[in-house]
């Protein structure tokens, strides 16, 4: 069984009467790239802020690398790197000085790591520039450099793509994939740019209104979102028989309420209809289905809201 990196049990955060995070149970295992998916205000950042000690949970508990007690949790946080919301640094210090300040503070030996992470995020040339002159994209890169400085085992990134240009997004994606592959870095990444998460995540957590709606692996999600012909019939066993005998198909799924999902012959709905009719199966509806992450998320939360 893989080592659990982050586990939360009934994690709850309330601000006055408002419950921002509501009984969230998370389980992130070593080596996963966990995409936390949710709209703005869904509670993604608050969860990350609780994990990184910026705010205290109202109820519930969290365990980091198996540690749950406050003192032990603090020690385990030293194994993490985090970038939460907009990266914050001292404006009057240069990028290099800012990182050097945190290097000294954390007791990381050797000044080489500062240059190494600046190179890693492509800020080597801008290392001598003051933070106050940085663009949002450069700030994001510097935030990432800080998160990576002590070779963390667990990386928490809150909307890291914000402000990055297309080239920067590709570089970030490749960097995260490399870290995950080569150093086995576990990554928790929250984003509302779902197409980007699709290229990265091995697991997903869907959150809305502070509640965890579903946790699913990318593989299982892919399976769920597979393109298919969805047939609503009067008798699923009869329809299945007809499909097997008439078209020789094996790649289908029978769902409750006499629904059949057919994963082949997608471009032959007329032939499928004719076959079913010929075999005395009444067809209530036939629909081409298939979803991407965005569609799946929207179906989970019940569609786009217009409030």
């Amino acid at each position: 069984m893989a080592e659990s990196v982050l586990v939360t049990r009934n994690l709850t955060k309330k601000y006055g009467p408002a419950t921002v995070v509501n009984n969230v149970n998370l389980n992130i295992e070593k080596g996963q790239i966990y995409g936390l998916v949710g709209r703005n205000g869904a509670g993604k950042t608050t969860i990350i802020r609780m994990v990184t000690a910026q705010t205290v949970p109202t109820e519930g508990e969290l365990s980091l690398f198996g540690a749950t007690e406050p003192g032990a949790l603090g020690k385990m946080r030293a194994r993490t790197g985090a970038m939460v919301e907009i990266p914050s640094f001292y404006p009057y210090l240069t990028a290099k000085e800012n990182l050097e300040y945190y290097r000294i503070q954390r007791g990381i030996p050797g000044k080489g790591c500062v240059d190494e992470v600046l190179r890693l995020v492509d800020l080597k040339k801008a290392g001598g520039k003051k933070f106050k002159t940085f663009s949002l994209g450069m700030k994001q890169r510097l935030g990432l450099a800080l998160a990576l400085m002590d070779r963390p085992d667990f990386l928490l990134l809150d909307e890291p793509i914000n402000g990055l240009d297309p080239e920067g997004i590709v570089e970030l994606r490749n960097l995260l994939l490399d870290l995950n592959r080569e150093r086995e870095t576990t990554i928790l990444i929250s984003s509302h740019i779902l197409s980007e998460l699709e290229n990265l995540a091995t697991h997903y957590g869907f959150i809305d209104n502070g509640r965890m709606l579903e946790q699913i692996s990318a593989k299982a999600l892919k399976e769920k979102c597979r393109a298919c012909l969805e047939l609503a019939v009067d008798s699923a066993p009869a329809a299945a028989r007809a499909l097997e005998q008439g078209l020789g198909v094996r790649d289908y799924e029978v769902l409750p309420d006499n629904i059949i999902r057919l994963y082949c012959h997608l471009d032959e709905p007329a032939r499928v209809t004719q076959l079913l009719v010929e075999n005395g199966v009444a067809l209530r509806s036939i629909e081409q289905k298939g979803a991407n992450l965005e569609d799946y998320f929207l179906s989970l939360i019940g569609g786009v809201r217009h409030d």
Partner: protein, 249 residues
Amino acid sequence: MLNYIKAELYRAAHHMTVYLVSGILLALALAFATMWVGPFTFPNMAALLSVTMPVGLFMAAVMDVVVVSGIHRTGSLKNELSFGIPRSRIYLGKLTAAFLLSVMLCALVLGGFLGLSCLLTAPGDPEETRVVLAVLGYVVAASFPLWLGALSVTHMLFFALKSEVMAACLTAYLLLLGEPMTAIFTMINSETIAAPARAVREVMLTTPFWKYEGELTWQLMAQNWAIGLGWLVVSTAVGLWVFRRAEIK
């Protein structure tokens, strides 16, 4: 903790304000020294320095502001917390760094003033010099805990209040107007108001400086240390309590 303090001093060393404040205070001290050079001897100059001790309250406050200003505005605290640095270490580490900077600034200004006075004035009577330097040593030692109290109160206000303007105003009020305002209440012709006002005034950080005009006793020294350390302990406890519960954004 040592790494934390080292990092704070590294940051302060790259902060223009540290050099600006140190330069201005040193220039003022040297200008003040040169003003009196003509008719004054070295013991006179040292005696003059003895009456400037309240300035140390503001120097300590300013040095603390250099260390803590921007902690809420820049949002840099979240970087420290997310790495697992305990909040108590952040609070006390910054306080210690501000204390060390204040001591350095104090040594620079006192040393600069005395050094220039020594160079530019007549040496004076050796016995008089010895007595005046002993008095100066006494008032510095007696003022030191009060400066420390001012530093820790400033620290607490800047940590506890999200608005730096509000924190600066409260610090200024406490160090400039707190004691005179309390003194007004002591004059009210009602013991229910005047008696507590007198008690409060007795423990205010600025009150002990008035007592240097009288006899310099060990009892006065002990009182000053009790007042200064009292402010240090209480304000640090309050500051830590508030900071441990604070939402960091």
